[in-house]
Symmetry: C2
């Protein structure tokens, strides 16, 4: 496709009632639109940008792997957003690149096993924060033992409590991973 042809296609893009881009060439099925919206809401809860939800949602509800420029066209987002969103999702292990014979473009598949998604999110987003919290806590202990104020005992008590919270937080992440690893019926 020449860049002129691409501009022509762009001009036919319109925005539907829910804010998703649609056009003759890139039309999404109603189910797809709905699933993408669901993921946009879900990633908001996790504190991730909308575009990440759109991209993952589109891949999740697409029967075949998609290259970057198709994602851009179907969602009506910028190439930059798509590139960054895909990198993020790839780092988390939420999408997998795959090669399509006879096509130079890198295609992407959604990883749909909840266990893998959770493991990626825990390892990529949660654990780093927990670890930086651990560092802060060490610093805090130093400061607390050095404190000689009237309230030193109270302060040290609180710092101990924070240590307990952190330990339980770490245990929780393990429990969550283990639970999601099981293939539960019922």
């Amino acid at each position: 496709m020449t860049s002129a042809a691409r501009s022509a296609a762009r001009e036919r893009v319109s925005i539907d009632a829910d804010g998703l881009a649609v056009s003759k060439e890139t039309q999404l099925a109603p189910v797809q639109v709905e699933v993408i919206e669901l993921f946009v809401h879900a990633v908001r809860v996790l504190g991730l940008p909308k575009s990440v939800g759109e991209i993952y949602g589109l891949l999740f509800i697409s029967p075949e792997e998609l290259p970057l420029d198709v994602i851009v066209a179907r969602l009506g987002i910028s190439k930059g957003s798509a590139s960054q969103g895909l990198r993020f999702l790839r780092n988390l292990g939420a999408v997998k690149p795959c090669n399509i014979p006879g096509d130079r473009r890198e295609h992407f598949n959604a990883v749909t096993e909840l266990k893998k998604l959770a493991a990626g999110f825990i390892g990529g987003e949660l654990t780093p924060h927990l670890e930086s919290g651990t560092l802060r806590l060490e610093k805090l202990k130093q400061i607390a033992v050095a404190d000689t104020s009237e309230h030193a005992d109270f302060f040290r008590d609180r710092v101990v409590r924070l240590g307990n919270w952190r330990r339980r937080g770490g245990m929780l992440l393990k429990i969550v991973s283990r639970f999601l690893g099981r293939t539960t019926k019922k």
Copy 2:
């Protein structure tokens, strides 16, 4: 304290290296500054505003209950922020109001049991999202059964998978609550 006296106090407020307000009258101990910073980072991870972390952190590391205007003075935040932050924390059950005899102002205590905090956060922030997700999913099922496209089977498969995710998410919240309810040693 007259409003003139308050302005005078305000003028002596300065900003330290870490951005926390300090002054002769409202100086925070180094441990306190550190704990507040720790909470600011923690609430960021949870997707809550900085001011909420500051307020909770201050109450957590204060030996006595504090009224709104003292929180405002010690943190150097606006009365509006403090009022909204306290309402949020109170709704979550993370702080408790209490009466101090001979003082008309409402004072606040931090709730420091991890179980209670988690229960409040799960009930106040997570469950509502899970429930709105449930509604979306119902709508999605409707659309999926009505789909007659080439990919109808694939779509229905995915919708079933989302239903499984949601069910497991609900179970997870219960497991987390149960775990944090236990008083675990080691």
